[in-house]
């Protein structure tokens, strides 16, 4: 009775049958065969036995400890409290900066600095940047800032955030939206982010690895950072895809920088200045 020909239609469907994924008609066909074939019904029994054991073993091997339960509950409560506090605090600030019109997605796109037509002429004239000009109250020391950009870049400290979706935790410290652009088009792998001091301000430092090179993307509040990098003639202006990017060299590292809507961006790497500028201009 039990021939390969007779078993074949059932054998091919046995998994789906056990998974409850067959149509009613197919179920009837399979069951008709199973009722008269001990080999196939044995296979089904084995399927069930293996699954049952897999379930039991998988659950038995990972019972949440009380400590873990407590830790998770605490984390959830803290997150709820944080979200409530943030909502309360951000309401006035958001309207001031007109960010309440910007959805999180649009903000991500706005990391995306250079996509509007900021003319090069405008960029070259400090007079058109009243906020920045007013903010400069200390001697302009771009060399120190470049040093810091390099120092933070070569610092091997562990990132505090390795989960891209948690980067917004850095936002309160940095004061501007922090997102990690994927930069996949360069084969970049994002490694993590942390907050670093940059002169008298704090910036988010986002670490990438591109073809074996470490690349740091800084995101900072361009209006509070007193030395606005593009204002210095220490930088060369380049135009990449119609967007101005400012590049300089410091101790063998290339620094590319620009800003957009009050958010400053800088890329430090041991790649060439073309690559740094390209990465910045790509952020759309």
């Amino acid at each position: 009775m039990t021939s390969v020909g007779g078993c074949r239609p059932t054998v091919t469907r046995l998994d789906a049958y056990a998974d409850g994924e067959l149509s009613p008609d197919q179920v009837l066909e399979v069951e008709a065969h199973l009722s008269e074939c001990s080999s196939c019904s044995g296979h089904l029994q084995l399927e069930h036995a293996v699954r049952k054991s897999a379930r039991r073993a998988t659950y038995a091997a990972a019972v949440p400890s009380d400590a873990f339960r407590e830790r998770v509950l605490h984390a959830l409560q803290a997150e709820t409290a944080r979200a409530e506090a943030e909502a309360a605090e951000q309401a006035p600030r958001a309207s001031m900066l007109s960010w309440n019109n910007i959805t999180p997605l649009a903000l991500a796109a706005a990391v995306a600095l250079l996509f509007t037509a900021t003319t090069n002429e405008k960029r070259n004239q400090p007079a058109t940047m009243p906020v920045a000009a007013a903010a400069v109250s200390e001697p302009f020391n771009v060399e120190k800032l470049l040093d810091e950009l390099v120092d933070q870049h070569i610092d091997r400290s562990e990132p505090s955030v390795t989960e891209a979706s948690l980067l917004d935790r850095l936002e309160p410290e940095v004061g501007v939206p922090v997102h990690a652009p994927s930069l996949v088009q360069y084969g970049a792998r994002w490694e993590g982010g942390r907050v670093v001091p940059l002169r008298n301000e704090r910036a988010a430092s986002l670490r990438y690895r591109v073809a074996g090179h470490r690349v740091t993307l800084y995101v900072y509040n361009a209006e509070r950072l007193q030395e606005r990098l593009p204002l210095s003639n220490r930088f060369k202006k380049r135009v990449v895809r119609d967007e101005p990017v400012y590049v300089a060299w410091k101790r063998g590292y290339s620094i590319a920088t620009t800003d957009r809507r009050g958010v400053g961006y800088a890329v430090a790497s041991d790649l060439g200045e073309d690559e740094g500028a390209e990465i910045l201009a790509s952020l759309h």
């Binding site: 039990t2 021939s3 390969v4 078993c7 074949r8 054998v11 091919t12 046995l14 998994d15 789906a16 056990a18 998974d19 409850g20 994924e21 069951e31 199973l34 009722s35 008269e36 001990s38 080999s39 019904s41 044995g42 296979h43 089904l44 029994q45 084995l46 399927e47 069930h48 036995a49 293996v50 699954r51 049952k52 054991s53 897999a54 379930r55 039991r56 073993a57 998988t58 659950y59 038995a60 091997a61 990972a62 019972v63 949440p64 873990f68 830790r71 998770v72 509950l73 984390a75 959830l76 409560q77 997150e79 709820t80 979200a83 989960e163 891209a164 979706s165 948690l166 792998r189 994002w190």
Partner: protein, 217 residues
């Protein structure tokens, strides 16, 4: 004046109820207890932030498992799960010929104590040795009993791919278990399906079909 802990929110209650599931799946994904705990915590924090995107009435467990999977892929496997050279066009199911009647006799009865101990210890190891894509598919189906469609959504692949991964994963799994059963002398040398069964031929009894997959208690 001590602040009294506030009563748990609905979300917190639901999350804690799903903790065993998330930790069980997370542990098989990461194969590391500490990483699994971090993964589960991140998963629940993400779920908390995104909870307005959860459609009430749909499968909360499947939704959380999806976040868990995505979090795992994003954190540990940027660009997707480890791919396996074994992933490809499906093989002939009849090629699962290593299982014969004697093996089934010995292996299908989970109450057989000797075997159960072997199965449960070895099954985890066998699962952990599966390529990630297979392992995840098998865990979501065999352990979590999600539908092919739910698994396809979680893994971001077509249903046909889910079926192929399940088939291959289960075959590898059973092959592993069989080898262990053999090495322990629980089963003898194998006869392929289609070859005249030895043990089952004699008893001739119709084995009752367990149509519903029982949940583990």
């Amino acid at each position: 004046m001590k602040a009294r802990p506030s009563p748990p929110t609905d979300f917190e209650r639901e999350a804690m109820a799903q903790l065993p599931t998330l930790l069980a799946v997370g542990t098989r994904l990461t194969r590391n207890a500490a990483e699994a705990e971090d993964l589960v915590q991140d998963t629940l924090l993400k779920a908390l932030r995104a909870r307005e995107h959860f459609a009430q009435g749909s499968n909360m467990r499947a939704w959380l498992l999806r976040i868990l999977t995505n979090t795992f892929i994003n954190r540990y496997r940027r660009g997707g799960l480890e791919r396996s050279v074994l992933d490809g066009p499906d093989a002939d199911p009849l090629a699962d010929g290593w299982i014969g009647a004697s093996t089934m006799e010995a292996m299908r009865d989970p109450e057989s104590r000797a075997l159960r101990a072997v199965l449960e210890k070895e099954i985890l190891q066998a699962l952990d040795e599966l390529p990630e894509e297979f392992r995840l598919a098998v865990v979501l189906s065999d352990v979590e009993e999600l539908s092919y469609r739910e698994i396809a959504e979680i893994m971001g692949c077509p249903i046909g791919t889910v079926m192929s991964r399940l088939h291959r994963g289960r075959r590898l799994l059973k092959g592993r278990l069989y080898q262990h059963a053999r090495s322990l002398g629980i089963v003898g040398p194998e006869h392929a399906i289609g070859v005249e069964p030895r043990a089952a031929a004699g008893d001739g009894a119709v084995i009752p079909i367990d149509r519903k997959r029982g949940r583990v208690a």
